[in-house]
Symmetry: C2
Subunit: 205 residues, 2 copies
Amino acid sequence: LSSPEPPRRGRPRDPEVERRIREAAISVYADVGWSGFNIERVAKEASVGKGSVYLRWTSASQLLLEAFETELRFVDENIDTGTLRGDLEALAHQIAHVYEGDHGRAYLRMRIEAHSIPGFDQYFEFQQAQMAASRKIVRRAVHRGELPADTRVTMLLDVLSGGLLVHSLTTPRLLVSAKSQRQYPSDLVDFILRAAEAGKSRAAG
Amino acid sequence: LSSPEPPRRGRPRDPEVERRIREAAISVYADVGWSGFNIERVAKEASVGKGSVYLRWTSASQLLLEAFETELRFVDENIDTGTLRGDLEALAHQIAHVYEGDHGRAYLRMRIEAHSIPGFDQYFEFQQAQMAASRKIVRRAVHRGELPADTRVTMLLDVLSGGLLVHSLTTPRLLVSAKSQRQYPSDLVDFILRAAEAGKSRAAG
């Protein structure tokens, strides 16, 4: 007799439901932090049964980690528009998008709490990979001669993501138009490029 | 018969004890957030009796608010060195100092939670006053002709405080020397001034 197939841990077929559950996880986490985070709450927020969540994720921390890695991705590793300005604008818009709404608060909480969440060493690895991907963008520009060889790559990126973070924290979204909301990342890239390129003329002069 | 004096709510005589209690409040808050914050915990952390805390502060939220306003002060309103570079360096070092250690995590938590803490409308007023004080520094430089009239004052300050925030979050303090720790704010000011001054030559050209 052949043994029966092992019970299959099925996945919900609908990727839209998966996404809704991940978004609900981020939203619950933004509100209550790790100390109040559990699958019951997430299921309620996503308007699905607890079983649908357990079908796909075995623990609260696994769900939260996957939600972060999927929905709070700052850097698309394929950004390569051919120019530094194009790449930085794409990066800036992605970062601004991550900081919008619940995601910004969830991200800040994670910066404070990650060390106390089981399995979240993996989150630091994800963060490292994201930082490496954004450094690659700037290094490529140095290679092409768009920026001087002594460019402070990490500082340039601190300023880009930090400027967007502080802007999102201090600008109540309802008070600014969607247009100025879209404009800020581009203007910030202009500002940063002026600094970086001034470094170039100084190095050449 | 004259009525007896009302019971005096004395203050602990020792300002060093007051400071220790405020620092303990920030440290406890950084660890557990508002949901776990109470005077008992703060007293334990500060190694003082609960009575010493209640002598001076009537509620947990009042203590926390005062701790923030005193110990997490980003801008000394008297900064006025005579030059933009001097003023921004003084500002950058103050901000970097605020983000050090527990203070940075406490600040981020407050950005997430302030709306749910009783009495913390006052904290937003404090923040507004701090932002106004730093804008004054940049506006003064515009007046002196050190920066072009169309300088994006708020963006310049977003970039300064944001760069320092991201740097403090991503740089494990134990891995960098005290010297490079002191150097970063000055280098960041150089970077930002290059951008702001490039704006000037562009406006003049």
